[in-house]
Amino acid sequence: MSDSPSPLIPIPRGPLPAIPPPPERRLVRIAIDGQAVSVPEGATLLEAARGIGIDTPTLCYLENLTPVNVCRVCVVELEGSRTLVPACSRKVEPGMSIHTDSERVRLSRRLVLELLASSVDLSAAPAAQAYLERYAAHPERFGPAASTAAQPVKIDNSLYVRDYGKCILCYKCVEACGVDAQNTFAIAVAGRGFEAHISTEYGVPLPESACVYCGNCIGVCPTGALMFKSEFDMRQARVWDESSQTQTDTICPYCGVGCTLTVHAQDGRIVKVTSPLDQPVTNGHLCIKGRFGWQFVETITSDTSPPTPRVAP
């Protein structure tokens, strides 16, 4: 290439303009449980509380999705506010004084958990189980006749199942299917009130919908309502054993993007694939190949002997 300047690109004379330094994020002073803290402007109350080691429960919140603040388990008491406010989405404002463990906060959190546990099957949601214990929730007090979301599991494809009897309607799958990750829009919230549910148009089976089987909805589901078919089958057969599973990070072999995969294996066999949320390439999201395309690992051996897939420990 010639050194002479292109006639199309004007070359500025004199020193090149300096790149301005990034704007400094101003600090906002607030009080959390009586403790004065300074947090960057634009931070949420959740970030501020976590910053000083206060463990705030969340169910519908996830770092890689837009907060929808619908589960209300993260509510905190803000002085001067008539109602409690959701920590996950409320931004800090100068002079705020919040309480994260007051009587009012504990009551609302306990009730949210009791309401959920009395209507939804949380058996595959360890985080929710821990919260129920932490807040001494007694969902059974609503009585045996309490309405529930119980319904048959939807199995309409070979890759994943949808068990909406476990769905807490956190909107995460809709976000991951939509603008927050996949932009496929195969599912949306339909109906209203207690009848609100996640659905394709007219509830058509996934193969008839816009679903591309990226599985990002499974990746964000907090309750096991969306589950790999492999995991579902093993749980049905009562052989699913997370304590004996290994998790191995590797790079997806399919294309040049280089997504980090976490391969979950049990007894030397791959049982599911995820991606770390803090991984800058994926933000936890994958495509159908990375998420589901691992069967080739198991088909390299002959049909007559049991498969011996090679997975690093």
């Binding site: 603040n69 619908v70 589960c71 209300r72 388990v73 509510v75 109602t83 409690l84 959701p86 989405s89 409320r90 009012r104 009551l107 609302s108 009730l111 949210v112 309401l115 959920l116 009395s118 209507s119 007090r141 609503f142 009585g143 006749a145 309490a146 309405s147 807490i168 309607l169 932009n183 829009f185 195969a186 599912i187 949306a188 919230v189 339909a190 109906g191 209203r192 009130g193 207690f194 009848e195 609100a196 659905s199 394709t200 148009e201 007219y202 058509v204 008839e208 919908s209 816009a210």
Partner: protein, 519 residues
């Protein structure tokens, strides 16, 4: 957007219904398009959804999600005409049979017995006197004087007068109207909106319907003044879906006003530009919540947004928006004409002006009554001819399903924002529904609980499941259910996203607090 559509094709009739309403082809046309399908075809079919999705570029799952949100849309075949028999509380005590599913209050509670009563003051003086279809008649009855004066005064003076009037919002929250106007006016954004909340859906409420049906031009003129004052060129008038006559008369009024140069471009020859688009709701109480109303207009599910940001900062289409209820807005022409100070001299120091009340239930003459703030509940009931039914009053529901029951011992409470607050009640949507001593109040409470369960949008946990548990606990009854009921109530009040969940336990708790619920 790369849409994947189902295989079903629309019929010619469906295609024509959709194409006639698509307009700009943007998402905010979704609700009018769905209305066109429902009214012409009788239901919204998969083929129609595919066509809507393609024309508006909305994924079919989302079209379905929006359509299934509204009570007036059917996603399976049903006759184009379906009779609705109200079985809400005002009709229940008159002997209406419970429907399955329930039919929510249709806002016709003033039709029991005799012709509806109307007690008019400064707000309602044209209703029943001026022809609601005639702009000429409206002008003959002092119409458009206020807009002409406002144009002389200039926007800042108009807002000064609204502030001086101490007008408080009539939608239930009693927020100072002038402060909203001022905040939107002061916004840096060049695009602003006026939204008139005419989605009156609180059970037992019908005053805005009476205004819209009887004096539609007053709503249009008031919105135009608001648009001029805050610097908006576009207004949305969101009318409850169950009010077809109001929508028809307002639509006619908008056309008349445009044709006579008092709406649209170059209003009154003064270069002012302001136009109004009427939107019909589709059977969702929650859409009366201002941010749910924005989502509904924009073509999304009518789910409330978290606040902040408030509408004055980021409202409709993310722009600064002035939202006022019908009754709030029609106070403005009088304020402009007489001045804010004169208006503030009416009523009490805090609650200024006059108020429209909806009297129904066991009252001698049900209807809309306009009274100066400060009249007591007893005086209002006497204006309406006293207690009907057995003649022995058991309780009054004040403010609607989201309001409170008050006992016969509290009838001397002055009807002001501060007076009702002092007894742990609120004016709410100004429902005054009387129950004689023959009414089984538990049935009424159960119907109110069912109302909230059916009208919860389902977005947040406390309201979605809390309203279900509230109804179950109330039905179960017994002393052990009460403490749980109260805790559910507190969680709904404290942790719900919007006013619906926050007030869903209000009437039930008020009955418990006053010992009106006998097990």
């Amino acid at each position: 957007m790369d849409l994947r559509l189902g295989a079903e094709q629309p019929t010619e009739e469906e295609r024509s219904a959709v194409d006639g309403e698509v307009g700009s082809g943007e998402r905010h046309r979704l609700l009018p398009v769905l209305h066109a399908l429902q009214s012409r075809i009788g239901w919204i079919s998969p083929g129609a959804v595919n066509h809507v999705a393609a024309r508006l570029m909305i994924p079919p799952a989302e079209v379905f999600g929006v359509a299934s949100f509204y009570g007036m849309f059917s996603l399976e075949p049903r006759p184009a005409r379906a009779a609705q028999v109200c079985d809400d509380i005002a009709c229940l005590i008159q002997g209406a049979a419970p429907q399955h599913p329930h039919v929510g209050c249709l806002g016709l509670c003033d039709r029991w017995g005799q012709p509806p009563a109307l007690h008019a003051g400064r707000l309602l003086y044209r209703v029943g006197k001026a022809d609601p279809a005639s702009l000429r008649d409206y002008i003959r009855h002092a119409g458009y004087k206020a807009l002409a004066k406002a144009l002389e005064m200039g926007p800042d003076s108009v807002i000064r007068e609204v502030l001086a009037s101490k007008l408080l919002g009539r939608g239930g929250a009693a927020f100072p109207a002038g402060k909203k106007w001022q905040a939107v006016r002061a916004s840096a954004s060049p695009t602003r909106y006026v939204v008139c909340n005419a989605d009156e859906s609180e059970p037992g409420t019908f005053k805005d319907r009476v205004v819209m049906e009887g004096d539609p031009f007053a709503v249009i003129e008031s919105m135009t003044i608001a648009g001029f004052a805050i610097g908006a060129e576009c207004g949305y008038l969101y009318v409850r879906g169950e009010y077809p006559l109001a929508a028809e008369r307002l639509t006619h009024a908008i056309h008349e006003a445009r044709a006579h140069g008092v709406l649209g471009g170059n209003i009154l020859g003064r270069g002012l530009s302001f136009d109004i688009e009427l939107r019909r709701g589709a059977g969702a109480y929650i859409c009366g919540e201002e941010t749910a109303l924005f989502n509904s207009i924009e073509g999304y599910r009518g789910e409330p947004r978290n606040k902040p940001p408030y509408p004055t900062e980021a409202g409709l289409f993310g722009q600064p928006t002035l939202v006022n209820n019908v009754e709030t807005l029609i106070n403005v022409p009088g304020i402009v004409l007489d001045g804010g100070a004169a208006y503030a001299a009416i009523g009490t120091a805090y609650s200024t002006g006059t108020k429209l009340y909806c009297l129904s239930g066991h009252v001698a003459r049900s209807g809309v009554y306009e009274a100066v703030f400060g009249a007591t509940l007893r005086e209002l009931i006497e204006m309406a001819g006293g207690v009907a039914g057995s003649g022995r009053l058991q309780a009054v529901l004040l403010g609607g399903a989201a309001g409170a029951f008050v006992s016969p011992q509290e009838l001397d409470t002055p009807l002001t924002f501060e007076g009702t607050r002092a007894i742990g009640a609120s004016l709410g949507s100004a429902v005054v529904m009387l129950f004689d001593d023959t009414v089984d109040l538990k049935k009424i409470l159960l119907r109110i609980a069912a109302f909230f369960r059916e009208e919860s949008c389902g977005q947040c946990v406390p309201c979605r499941i809390g309203t279900v548990r509230q109804e179950e606990l109330l039905d179960r009854g017994g002393q052990d259910a009460i403490p749980i009921l109260r805790e559910v109530g507190q969680a709904m009040r404290d942790a719900s996203i919007c006013g619906l969940g926050q007030t869903a336990s209000s009437a039930i708790e008020s009955a418990l607090n006053r010992g009106l619920l006998h097990e």
